[in-house]
């Protein structure tokens, strides 16, 4: 398995819409971590939105087209065979499009029809491999090499690793997962745990790793989302976590927003902090808090990081 894995030294980078807005800190910390690790990112030219969790409810095949266009540009215009998407939504949608284009003739026909009218080459299944930022570092660098580069250990920091929904579900669109040793697990994902452990963090036993934050309805059904986020915050605190590490801009801003909302609507205050895993990793690699955008988070972890001797 590992011998077939591509080296991820230079990959196409698909940041997606959220990383240009509320997920800005994730964008900049991902790029900084890449620089620090010598992994090169080549942003997809003139990319478009993947459709997130919304367009599929208007029509799923439009969503397939949107993702296929991004992969088509990466493969046909830029010559890449790997696309890295740090956002769970983008990552999920590219994976889903790959699956549908491989297995469903109707999807192929619709994508071909729209692609030719739009004036670009139709993406064909298998042209690129879509990976998440977690795969990128885990398989591109590995824990041992990462451990050797840690300048500022996260020792003493208790972390709950939160992966959300779209990174592992549904299983069939992630054929490389659940393949035994070295592969990611869809029921008990561990790539983020592995990377942060290599950076010195103490991962707590967190039962809600793949629970839902209600991100799809964060504005349309806010009370439900707040209840779901409250479950996650409380479980992380009960597990003894100082901080929840995230790997998705929607989950991250959902946790931050509803932590504030839980306070103002339900009078529930929680002390657990929320940071992107790339921010923690970046600081462990010796980057400043500012460089990884720690100050851009609504959830303020600076006092905690100072207390732990990390910042």
């Amino acid at each position: 398995m590992s011998s077939e894995k591509k080296p991820y030294q230079k990959v196409a980078y698909y940041p997606g819409c959220a990383l240009e807005g509320t997920g800005h800190a994730y964008n900049r910390s991902t790029k900084e971590v890449g620089k620090a690790l010598g992994l090169e990112l080549d942003e997809v030219n003139n990319w478009n939105c993947c459709g997130a969790m919304e367009v599929k409810n208007i029509d799923p095949k439009i969503q397939t087209y949107l993702s296929s266009r991004v992969m088509s540009i990466a493969a046909n215009e830029m010559g890449h065979d790997v696309v890295m998407a740090p956002c769970n939504g983008c990552y999920h949608n590219l994976k889903k499009a790959e699956y549908d284009l491989k297995n469903d003739a109707d999807s192929r026909q619709v994508v071909d029809r729209i692609s030719s009218k739009a004036g670009h080459k139709t993406y064909e299944a298998g042209q690129v491999e879509t990976i998440h930022a977690l795969d990128w570092i885990k398989d591109g660098i590995g824990e041992e090499a990462l451990r050797a580069r840690i300048k500022n250990s996260l020792k003493g920091l208790k972390v709950a690793n939160y992966y959300g929904c779209m990174y592992t579900r549904p299983r069939h669109i992630f054929p490389e997962k659940d393949q035994g040793e070295g592969s990611e697990s869809t029921s008990q994902p561990h790539f983020m745990d592995d990377l942060l452990a290599a950076a010195g963090a103490e991962n707590v036993d967190f039962p809600l790793k793949t629970a839902c934050c209600g991100g799809a309805h964060t504005l349309s059904d806010s009370d439900t989302s707040t209840l779901l986020v409250l479950n996650i915050l409380r479980a992380a605190e009960a597990a003894g976590a100082d901080v929840i590490a995230t790997e998705c801009p929607t989950c991250h801003s959902g946790l931050e927003m509803h932590q504030v909302r839980a306070e103002s609507k339900f009078g529930y205050t929680s002390n657990v902090k929320i940071t992107y895993f790339t921010q923690l990793l970046g600081m462990a690699l010796g980057l400043s808090a500012k460089k990884v955008g720690m100050h851009e988070n609504i959830s303020d972890s600076m006092a905690l990081l100072k207390q732990k001797g990390i910042a």
Binding site: I62, G215, V260, D300
Partner: protein
């Protein structure tokens, strides 16, 4: 067709006699509570086909009622009335009137895909929930849900420009749903955000909100997507016989109108 499980034991089906004496024994009140018998006749035999004609509902026929979807459901854990297994059953047997009892909560599916992960028959229950919520709206049983209004705002921006801008989505959504933008918790969050974000980023985000990020050369894709969406929506209207229903409704309105005129 069997009469359905738990649902005869609803408050309105319980009959309690306050004063009842049988064979000289007083069985008033609690002791004389009976479940009224009922025969269901209003099946909609086309219901499963209609749901299957909408995106996401295609595989509903595979369900064998194991209940893994409801057991794993995120929303069910906070609202026991949210029961995908049960709704799939009602749709398959055509019990439309029973399904309509829950019409106001079906849209609350958060698309976490735990059901789709757990389902041993590839029903894709998450898709069935979306198709059912959509069906309720198309048939006029419910107004468009906040979730659908959000999806429409979002999708229209993507189709038009190739990208979205979050501030614009939020403003557009609150406008569509008639809610004030100044929700106290949103204001609180914006305050915390503005206090922290670097000025250059705030300026950039403000500009993006006005100028709108766009994918260049998008018009070909935009037109092709719109054409496809229009075709699909016409197909769906046909599958649900919406135009026929509109005609029938017009016919039914006429006698009433005449009476009113007289």
């Amino acid at each position: 067709m069997p009469i359905h499980e738990e649902h005869l034991i609803r408050p309105e089906n319980l009959k309690t006699h306050e004063d009842l004496v049988i064979d000289g024994i007083d069985v008033s009140g609690h002791w004389s509570t009976f479940i009224e018998s009922r025969v269901v006749t209003d099946y909609n035999e086309a219901l499963e086909e209609e749901i299957a004609a909408l995106p996401g509902g295609e595989f509903i026929h595979r369900c064998w009622q194991c209940g893994s979807c409801t057991n794993s459901c995120t929303v069910n854990a906070i609202n026991p009335d949210f029961n995908p297994r049960y709704w799939i059953y009602l749709i398959r047997v055509g019990m439309e009137s029973e399904l309509l009892r829950d019409k106001d909560i079906i849209w609350q599916c958060v698309s976490c895909n735990k059901c789709t992960y757990a389902c041993p028959r590839d029903v894709v229950p998450e898709g069935v929930m979306k198709a059912t919520a959509h069906w309720l709206e198309l048939k006029g049983h419910t107004p468009k849900s906040p979730s659908m209004l959000f999806d429409e705002e979002f999708s229209e921006q993507v189709i038009e420009t190739g990208k979205i801008e979050e501030g614009r989505i939020i403003r557009g959504f609150f406008k569509r749903t008639g809610q004030p933008l100044m929700q106290d918790w949103l204001v609180e969050m914006a305050k915390r955000l503005v206090a922290k974000l670097p000025v250059t980023l705030l300026v950039k985000m403000g500009l993006a909100s006005v100028l709108r990020p766009r994918t260049s050369g998008w018009s070909g894709a935009r037109d092709a997507i719109q054409e496809y969406v229009d075709e699909k929506q016409a197909e769906q209207r046909k599958a649900l016989r919406l135009d026929e229903l509109v005609e029938i409704a017009k016919q039914e309105v006429k006698p009433g109108q005449q009476a009113a005129a007289e």
